[in-house]
């Protein structure tokens, strides 16, 4: 290259090889995460492969041995200048009012190399100025240079080819179909990769100039995948979140929820100070603002006045690892209660999550591998994992077998899709595993057998993406399925956990029976370092979320802490959540907003700092620990969650948190008492801030898991072992056979957009939650005498919601699917925690 010898990887494109060796070739259409198209011609350089120099697009020419490249020859420069001029002739000169100004590759190129004046005296191409191509994305076709990045992204990466080139030649434009907006969960990525200001997103339009922004690397908080992000702020306000290109995680992509979710943090409704009220009913039910001392003393007083087993903490996934540890210490080590659960009856058995051999995203996407999805739709719940899996299936020959209650965003790419009807999941999984391991009937041509064949043929072992499927199925169904799946030879697991830093919460011991470091409470010995830093330990095993709420409903809980949780909307049984909240003597909410549960029952509300407002770390579903960075200060006097816990500890047990005055100090104590956390050193975190630290015992390090089929732990003195299945998977009859004539088995799963608290406060996403819809299989329309598209009431023994009836061939016959938290139609109103299978009927209204 330019006379110097440069080494390149086999098959590497010239443009990438040159960049690695320090020569940046200008480009507009090339993007390292998408297939090259060679459209913009900006990256033309002179290449000689033995037949003399000729101009070649460096984004489409793979490097070959002995190739000579001249990136700065007269011919290369002339060609690049020519392209730049061509791009500029029809490009408007509205840089001063363009959001991209200051960070615009076209502007930068022009400033650096462009001609001083124009030779173009003709009229420029005109289009009506920006058109909204979706709720959040605006398109200015005059600025567009037709690089095909957004359209390629929509088609290749997201699989939502809803924007496309229209017209031809000089009249080509990007657009949507008539009245069919670019309603993609990933639309914001197109704004980020647009090399000019053609695509802009509503939350950032005209908000700031790039040179006024400061930026910090952090981790997305809205789901458990932990996509890496750059948080950008100006004047103490977060204005933009961009995807950061972490090889191991999100490749620079984000879902719109991750990207635009920061809007909620800027909401005027954010809690800026603690609030108290004397009663939750009657005349005194209005909250009043309080000082921190008063509020914390109120909580401490309530805690002092009761006994540990009458205290419970629900939630914690919103918190950083450090805050989670402090809350675990407060609850278990200071108060002494084990009634702590970060999940809300909607997740997996924490012992399983921590114990199963874990896979990384990279493992799941390894070319030629096989992925078994037993869980929710990744497109809805783990959107960047969806993008990675989709890429792996489409481009790298990864095979997907899915066992899901209804069709997912990946179904059309799956080799096999099995649809267990509600209540039969575990049995179906058992049959599948039997067939795959040869321990069951085989040789028939059933779908199960075909899917099992794929699993048998999986070379290096199957990666199971395991999660809780329909929330209308009881938790132990998923757990039983998981136990069956662990019989697959060398299977590894990527848990599809719900909600932000849930993995961190489980690792920190925010679950009944656990203490930090994947340790069982009952196994903590006297000599353990935990025992030294914690004043005490719970006397007995605690309750999970369901049992906590039941106990609270009975009046057996005096202090119920909602640690960023909203049981009324998130717990599987709305009625039980209501009774539990009302039954607890004192409900304390630690949150960013007054959510519905707090509004119903909280006496004390503690204003917490948001994810861009405090430092700390995040643990994703792989066990990858990455930093979360404070970029702005919290509103008012809102405090970081760890500070709140530390303060309460000190009030209850002076000296219990001495020295724990920063996230770093908390990390150090955690690493000291937990072998699992030991690798999280400050050095390790700063060494590779993009990829983070992958905790030992997870797949990528080769030594798979702290859990063995023998049940022998390999990590820690006494980490989590295998727990036996509560009920045999085949124990349950097929509920379809007992279905009443007009009855349906309820399926409910989460969607990306819903009526959740954070989304309610995101102006650009608020309207995106789909209206309540009851979906049934087209074959079932004969069973009810109601027309499709009419308003109906979905009724169970426990409650009802209102929705519009629709057909969906992705819903198995006999089932009815509603979204988990559609506005005004919470599906948990239909479900009782004690019931295995929820039967509903549909009535016209």
């Amino acid at each position: 290259m330019d006379g110097a010898a440069v080494e390149a990887r086999p098959g590497e494109m010239l443009i990438a090889a040159c960049e690695r060796s320090g020569t940046y070739i200008p480009r507009f259409c090339y993007h390292s995460r998408m297939s090259p198209v060679g459209m913009c011609r900006m990256c033309l350089v002179e290449v000689d492969t033995g037949r003399g120099f000729g101009l070649q697009p460096s984004c489409m020419v793979p490097v070959s041995e002995g190739m000579k490249v001249s990136t700065d020859s007269e011919a290369s420069k002339k060609a690049q200048d020519g392209v730049l001029e061509f791009l500029l002739i029809n490009h408007p000169l509205d840089c001063p009012v363009c959001d991209k100004g200051g960070e615009c590759p076209l502007q930068d190129q022009t400033m650096a190399y462009g001609p001083g004046e124009t030779r173009f005296v003709e009229e420029k191409r005109h289009f009506p100025k920006p058109i909204a191509i979706s709720e959040t994305v605006f398109l200015d076709r005059e600025r567009c240079i037709l690089c095909d990045r957004c359209t390629r992204f929509a088609d290749e990466v997201a699989g939502d080819a809803l924007i496309h080139f229209m017209g031809r030649g000089n009249h080509t434009e990007v657009n949507t179909f008539t009245d069919e907006p670019f309603a993609s969960y990933f639309s914001g990525n197109t704004v980020q990769i647009c090399p000019v200001g053609a695509l802009t997103a509503a939350p950032y339009r005209f908000k700031a100039r790039p040179w006024d922004l400061t930026e910090t690397l952090s981790t997305a908080w809205v789901d458990s995948l932990g996509s890496r992000v750059a948080v950008q702020a100006s004047r103490n306000r977060v204005l933009r979140v961009l995807g950061a290109d972490a090889d191991a995680v999100n490749w620079g992509w984000l879902s719109d929820k991750e990207r635009f979710g920061f809007e909620a943090l800027n909401s005027a409704e954010r809690l800026s100070a603690p609030m108290l009220r004397d009663a939750v009913d009657g005349d005194n039910r209005e909250f009043r603002q309080a000082g921190w001392g008063e509020a914390l003393e109120a909580v401490a007083g309530a805690l002092r006045a009761t006994s540990p087993e009458r205290v419970a903490v629900l939630g914690g996934a919103r918190l950083t690892n450090e805050a989670q540890y402090m809350w675990a210490k407060l609850a278990k080590g200071v108060v002494g209660t084990d009634n702590v659960d970060a999940q809300l009856g909607d997740g997996l058995d924490p012992h399983l999550v921590l114990g199963l051999p874990r896979a990384t995203i990279e493992d799941a996407c390894r070319p030629g591998g096989t992925v078994l999805l037993v869980g929710p739709d990744p497109k809805e719940e783990l959107p960047t994992l969806y993008l990675r899996l989709r890429h792996a299936i489409v481009n790298d020959g990864v095979k997907l077998v899915e066992v899901t209650p209804h069709a997912t965003g990946l179904s059309h790419l799956a080799e096999h899709s099995l649809r267990p009807s509600p209540g039969t999941t575990a049995r179906l999984v058992a049959e599948l595993v039997d067939a795959a391991t040869g321990s069951g009937p085989s040789g028939d041509d059933s779908e199960i057998e075909a899917a099992a064949r794929s699993l048998r043929e999986a070379g290096e072992g199957v990666v199971v993406v395991l999660g809780r499927m329909s929330l209308a199925e009881p938790a132990d169904v998923g757990d039983a399925a998981a136990r069956e799946l662990s019989r697959l030879p060398s299977a590894r697991f990527l848990p599809a956990l719900r909600r932000g830093n849930l993995m961190g919460a489980l690792e920190a011991g925010l679950a009944p029976g656990l203490v930090p470091g994947r340790m069982q409470l009952e196994d903590v010995g006297d000599g353990a370092s935990l025992a030294e830093s914690w004043p005490r330990l719970p006397d007995s095993l605690g309750l999970d979320a369901t049992s906590v709420l039941r106990a609270a409903a009975r009046g057996d809980i005096d202090v119920l802490v909602l640690l960023g949780s909203d049981p009324l909307n998130d717990f599987v049984d709305r009625d039980l959540a209501y009774r539990g909240l009302r039954g607890a003597a004192c409900v304390v909410a630690v949150d960013l907003f007054v959510n519905d549960s707090a509004s119903l029952a909280a006496g004390v509300v503690l204003a917490a700092a948001g994810p861009t407002e405090c430092d700390g770390t995040f643990t994703n579903v792989e066990g990858r620990v990455s930093i979360m960075s404070r970029k702005v200060t919290p509103p008012g006097t809102a405090r970081a969650d760890w500070m709140i816990a530390a303060d309460l500890c000190e009030r209850l047990e002076p000296g219990s948190t001495s020295g724990l005055d920063s996230p770093q100090a908390i990390r150090a104590e955690l690493a000291q008492i937990s072998q699992a956390h030991a690798p999280i050193t400050e050095d390790a975190l700063t060494q590779n801030p993009m990829e983070g630290v992958l905790l030992a015992g997870t797949g990528a390090t080769g030594e798979a898991g702290g859990w063995r089929r023998s049940g022998r732990p390999t990590m820690g003195r006494s980490p989590v072992g295998r727990t036996e299945p509560a009920t045999g998977p085949a124990g349950r009859e097929d509920p379809l056979e007992e279905l009443p004539e007009d009855g349906f088995l309820l399926i409910t799963t989460r969607t990306m957009y819903d009526d959740g608290m954070m989304l309610r406060h995101c102006p650009s996403s608020r309207g995106l939650a789909p209206a309540a819809t009851a979906r049934i299989n087209p074959a079932d329309t004969d069973r009810i005498d109601i027309d499709v598209s009419t308003a109906v009431r979905v009724v169970s023994d426990f409650g009802h919601i209102e929705a519009t009836l629709a057909t969906d061939s992705g819903v198995p016959a006999g089932s009815l699917r509603v979204d988990w938290l559609a506005p005004g139609a919470p599906a948990n109103a239909l479900i009782a925690a004690a019931t295995d299978v929820t039967v509903v009927s549909v009535e016209a209204r």
Partner: protein
């Protein structure tokens, strides 16, 4: 011939031109002259497109001859005949066929019937007048190469050709010439007609493949997308022109030796040339390849019989709208790819457009540039923006709004689309720059738009200058920042 029938295709019979002897009423444009007729032999029959006429006049005999041979022997015969591709590039078909990589099956045959190069029409006549000959050619190619599926892509605007091919395919399927177990043998192939919808660029083979995959017909970069390596559905694909394949039946019946008995040694056989413009007898002629000269074709009694009204030749396009232009000095070049290329142009698609001395060179150049600007697919920046810019400047000059700097600007824009010396005929003592042009684009469409500009500016710069009104740029007063006013 009264009112055209629904399937007649022509709206009225053509009036005979004064020098019209040789025109066939039922094959408008085709001129039956003296000389060997390898591929248009059946045109004299009004019903040449029917299976009955085809079979009665030796149709499918070439296929039967091929079926008697091994596939490899058929391929050898084509290779031995040095049958050159007739689409424009002139690459030997037998060699092209040999590029199919072993073991990467399936292979596909795609027939390029998307003829739309300005000035060109011979494939249309071959499709309309003798579809069975084309089908037979496809079958021979598929047999030789072991292809089980062939797509016959016909230009969208050619309704009659589509009709005739559809009818011929239906009859051929029915009669056992196409489909399962052809002529009772173990050879089976499906031929499916696909059609375009109005996009010149789809005539480019990789764009045609894109179109056949149901996408926008935008060319792919070669490499890696050489169709013979990575073509339709990513599989090795042979893309052959209609005329090329139409040669195969005659070749299989008469053999490669007989084939080489026509034309020149390096360019055997015959070629069809559409000769249009200011001529006394414009028409489509089947001409012996490589031996006839432009002069003969334009002035010869057996061909076009000279320029209309006794006018002088001003310039001519020797190979379709994409070719740099020729002049009087090039009349004695043979109709053969190599010498034409060396002289600075190309024989291309067999389209020769004659312009007499009444022609406005700037206007003629503008019209061809306008075509390319309209047909640019929009993929590559230099072509998408550059062709339109060229067209806008030329139109401005024609409108009397030209500026003195425009001529250099035109040439520099041309240089940014097609860098370096542009192919051009020798003139004023300067040597010819041989074909092809270099390009900053994926396909040659952009550079093609430069051809008329460079050709005419080199030869007729004075015509440009005469049109450009002397207008100096408006001076702009530059006031330094902070200067007192």
């Amino acid at each position: 011939m009264g009112a055209p029938s629904a399937t007649g295709g022509y709206l009225a019979p053509l009036p005979d031109r004064s020098a019209g002897a040789g025109y066939l009423q039922h094959a408008p444009g085709y001129v039956l002259n003296d000389g060997p007729k390898l591929i248009t032999g059946r045109f004299v029959h009004e019903d040449s497109f029917t299976l009955e006429r085809s079979v009665a006049t030796g149709g499918y005999e070439g296929l039967r001859a091929a079926l008697e041979m091994t596939p490899a022997a058929v391929h050898d015969e084509v290779r031995a005949a040095t049958l050159l591709g007739r689409g424009g590039a002139g690459f030997p078909a037998g060699v092209k066929w040999g590029f199919l990589p072993p073991g990467k099956r399936p292979y596909y045959l795609v027939v390029n019937g998307d003829e739309s190069e300005p000035g060109t029409y011979k494939d249309r006549l071959l499709m309309e007048r003798d579809p069975h000959q084309l089908i037979e050619g496809c079958l021979i190619a598929c047999y030789a190469l072991g292809l089980q599926q062939c797509f016959l892509y016909v230009r969208g605007e050619m309704a009659l050709a589509q009709e005739r091919i559809a009818a011929a395919l239906n009859d051929a399927y029915e009669a056992g010439y196409v489909g399962r177990e052809i002529c009772g043998s173990d050879f089976s192939v499906d031929i499916v007609m696909a059609w375009g919808a109005g996009a010149y660029i789809v005539g480019e083979e990789t764009a045609l493949i894109e179109s056949l995959e149901g996408r926008r017909g935008m060319p792919r970069l070669k490499p890696p997308y050489f169709p013979a390596a990575v073509g339709l559905y990513g599989q090795p694909t042979i893309v052959n022109n209609v005329e090329t394949l139409s040669n195969l039946p005659w070749l299989m019946v008469n053999g490669s030796e007989a084939y080489k008995g026509h034309g020149s040694e390096s360019s055997p056989g015959t070629r069809m040339f559409a000769v249009s413009g200011h001529l006394r007898r414009p028409g489509v002629y089947e001409v012996e390849h490589g031996v006839t000269t432009f002069r003969e074709l334009i002035y010869g009694d057996n061909f076009c019989r000279g320029i209309r009204d006794g006018n002088e030749l001003k310039m001519f396009i020797p190979g379709g709208g994409s070719a740099p232009w020729f002049f009087e000095d090039h009349l004695d070049l043979p109709l053969e790819a190599r010498p034409v290329g060396a002289a600075g142009s190309m024989l291309g698609s067999g389209a020769i457009v004659i312009m007499d001395d009444t022609t406005d060179a700037v206007r003629a150049a503008w019209r061809v540039v306008k075509f390319f600007a309209r047909e640019s697919c929009g993929k590559c920046t230099p072509c998408r923006e550059g062709t339109t810019w060229l067209e806008q400047i030329l139109r401005r000059i024609l409108d009397g709004e030209g500026r003195p700097s425009d001529i250099d600007l035109l040439l520099d824009i041309g240089d940014n689309i097609s860098p370096g010396p542009y192919p051009v005929a020798a003139h004023d003592g300067a040597e010819a720059v041989p074909f092809p042009p270099r390009q900053t684009t994926i396909c040659p469409l952009g550079p093609s738009a430069v051809a008329p500009v460079v050709s005419t500016i080199r030869r007729f710069r004075h015509e440009y200058e005469a049109k450009i009104t002397r207008r100096d740029p408006i001076p702009i007063e530059v006031v330094p920042v902070g200067a007192a006013r």
